[in-house]
């Protein structure tokens, strides 16, 4: 028996080593793609020019492009990837639904409803230009509330309806309903409001002012910190609520923490970058395939790093290096994410019970 335990310890150590290797690789990839994201853009800038722009303060046009545009955009891409992937992982575990994600379940739509209320509903004075300081916090808070409201609704439904497909369809219904409400609000709003809102919906990774980036950064750091505290709870929730409670988890408390965390992560991103699809649902599955574990102590950091990598790659692709046109980043993330989602569906014939 002794040797069996020893042997097992070896296997255990081997898998730990393997996980560490993957972590190191992912970390390296984050750095590499972050740098590449700065180097590539619609304007062709030589690598040597990029480096001198960053380190020598040449003061020319290139420096403006690199420091005022590309660097904030790369940071935004990194944050957005981390936040969406993390909220997707948490939602998949809490709902015990491999198809859950902020976009599919209508959480992003909820967030955009919150934003619509602020821009279209209350004040005609709020325009993207005036959205500085406090205005940004109001916008992001409205987004959290909208995301939270939809989360709450989905949670209430999923405690009664266990069927995954039904919940997905309800998510789509919610998203459609919300976009109908937003359309009505647009119809009744004046030209200035409308223009402000339409600009927001087209929002991409590159349109953030530095104060908006600050708000986003603070919110996501708060969300990520909270999520790191939730790894033990998430592991317990894998077993389902009954077993989780029987091993000592306060299920109500755990759900609230994860609920707040997810709303902050998905809501903040949507507030400033608009709805970005399929990152939240796909990246956690990619992490599961990579690490071959269900342990959130590994999956959480793994998803964080992988989410950053995937979003940076998406951003680079959307720049179409070498050409002057730019693709909407949402289209790129969909093209990357959807195959993964289809793979998950096809590879788990019994995925409705096997999560």
């Amino acid at each position: 028996m002794k040797s069996g335990i020893e042997k097992n310890k070896n296997v255990q150590n081997k898998s730990v080593r393997k996980a560490r290797l993957i972590f190191a690789t992912l970390l390296a990839l984050v750095v590499v793609f972050f740098i590449l994201d700065i180097f590539f853009g619609s304007v062709n800038i030589k690598a040597s020019e990029v480096i001198s722009a960053i380190f020598r303060h040449t003061g020319n046009n290139y420096e403006t492009i690199i420091l005022k545009f590309r660097l904030p955009k790369a940071i935004t891409a990194l944050i957005v990837g981390v936040a969406l992937s993390l909220s997707g992982l948490q939602m998949q575990t809490v709902f015990r639904n491999p198809m859950a994600g902020p976009y599919v379940l209508g959480i992003s739509s909820g967030a955009s409803l919150g934003v619509a209320f602020v821009i279209l509903g209350f004040s005609s004075n709020i325009t993207p230009e005036s959205l500085n300081g406090l205005g940004n916090w109001i916008l992001v808070a409205a987004s959290w509330l909208g995301a939270g409201a939809v989360m709450l609704l989905i949670m209430a439904i999923s405690s009664r309806v266990k069927d995954i497909m039904t919940i997905l369809i309800l998510g789509i219904m919610l998203a459609s309903g919300i976009s109908a409400i937003v359309t009505i609000m647009q119809y009744f709003s004046n030209e200035t409001m409308l223009k402000a809102y339409v600009i927001w919906t087209m929002g991409s990774l590159g349109n953030l002012t530095s104060s908006q980036l600050n708000v986003l950064l603070i919110s996501i750091i708060a969300g990520v910190t909270m999520s790191l505290f939730s790894s033990k709870m998430l592991n317990a929730l894998l077993l389902g609520e009954n077993y989780a409670a029987s091993i000592g988890l306060n299920v109500g408390f755990a759900r609230s923490v994860i609920f707040i965390c997810t709303s902050i992560l998905a809501g903040s991103v949507t507030a400033f970058c608009g709805p970005i699809g399929f990152i939240g649902i796909a990246v956690p599955h990619m992490a599961r395939i990579m690490f071959k574990t269900s342990d959130h102590k590994i999956l959480l950091p793994g998803t964080i790093l992988l989410g950053g990598v995937v979003m940076l790659i998406s951003d680079i692709i959307s720049q179409l290096p070498g050409s002057e046109s730019i693709l909407p980043v949402n289209a790129v993330t969909s093209l990357i994410g959807i195959p993964v989602v289809i793979w998950v569906i096809l590879n788990r014939r019994k995925y409705s019970v096997s999560f």
């Binding site: 069996g4 296997v11 491999p98 592991n235 077993l239 091993i247 000592g248 599961r288 574990t293």
Partner: protein, 336 residues
């Protein structure tokens, strides 16, 4: 082997059921029962009477609607979730199928109430996890995924999870429900070993009455109007089990502790001899005859040391049969 058995759990006028909003639906009259350290207790009752509800209430997953549950003399309501998780572990019929979860990870979740905020597995935790896995004899399965296990193996892994949780009491809702015969006895043997040699109090519900009677230390028999507790033999002697079947055409054989369909429809028949009597009587009962105490005009002579045949003797002739099967077929054609 058992240490001094002290009372570890008692139910005091416990009311179980569901409450939706303001309306409470109490399933059973107030229940009184108790369990001692190291006891193997079977909960018996017909489908839908509230066995699962009782077990869920014991595990703290459902609020009692009245009365008290005392663990070590302290009311369940005064335990926090964490404290309760150190006292009682729970397995339901709900099947855990998580992708990419290894047996080790599943068993490690049992350490939940013992680990720190992030759930770090310390050396002591690791040893207890390995100990639990070796107790269920699945040492080579550590890195295998739970979703790849057979029903029996998965159930054993779930039991290892409770062992790692290190609770004095294990509450299990039909632990052998979806298992084949071999796996079922495998699990039973394991549970019996855990309660006897490791001092775990195991409370489990089952529909297999014969198994419960032969294996358990105590039975909680739930009837529509009462909970009767006692050693299986006590309940047998008092005829309590008869209540389970009062409305059906099944009867309980006190002598053998077995069940048979009421068999007085075809008449009675005398059986002479001793060889293979037990199984012959069972077959005769099944064919619809009762066994007569005194000699009847048609009777059966059992195989003996001299002849290996069953003989069916009627008024007109004596016929020999090689097997019980042939004997019964012939018996069915005979009009008594």
């Amino acid at each position: 082997m058992k240490k001094d058995s002290k009372e570890i759990l008692s139910l005091d006028s416990l009311k179980i059921g569901y409450s939706t909003g303001k309306t409470k639906k109490v399933l059973l009259p107030p229940l009184n029962a108790s369990a001692a350290t190291g006891e193997f207790i079977a909960v018996i009752g017909r489908n839908g009477i509230g066995k699962s509800t009782l077990l869920r209430t014991l595990a703290g997953l459902q609020e009692p609607l009245g009365g008290e549950i005392l663990y070590d003399g302290r009311n369940l309501k005064d335990y926090s979730r964490m404290e309760l998780a150190l006292k009682v572990g729970y397995i339901s019929t709900e099947i855990v199928k998580v992708s990419n979860m290894s047996v080790y990870d599943l068993v490690a979740l049992g350490r939940f109430p013992h680990t720190n905020w992030i759930g770090k597995i310390e050396k002591d935790d690791h040893e207890r996890i390995m100990d639990a896995i070796s107790k269920i004899e699945m040492g080579s399965f550590c890195q295998k995924f739970v979703s790849e296990l057979s029903d029996g193996e998965r159930q054993k892994a779930m039991i290892a999870r409770i062992l790692a949780q290190d609770t004095g009491i294990m509450v299990m809702d039909e632990p052998t429900a979806f298992l084949d015969i071999a796996a079922k006895y495998d699990i039973l043997h394991l549970l019996h070993h855990l309660s006897g040699d490791n001092g775990k109090t195991i409370i489990f519900s089952t529909h297999d009455l014969q198994m419960a009677i032969s294996q358990s230390d105590k039975i909680w028999l739930i009837l529509d109007d009462d909970l009767i507790e006692g050693a299986p033999e006590d309940l047998m002697i008092s005829g309590a089990f008869e209540h389970l079947f009062s409305s059906t055409s099944v009867s309980f054989n006190i002598e053998y502790g077995t069940f048979s369909f009421r068999s007085d429809t075809m008449g009675s028949i005398y059986i002479e001899g001793t060889g293979k009597r037990y199984w012959t009587e069972k077959a005769v009962n099944r064919a619809g005859f009762s066994v007569a105490k005194e000699k009847t005009s048609t009777f059966i002579i059992l195989p003996s040391e001299i002849n290996s045949y069953w003989q069916l003797s009627t008024e007109s002739k004596i016929t020999k049969y090689k097997s019980v099967y042939e004997l019964i077929n012939a018996l069915r054609r005979v009009v008594i």
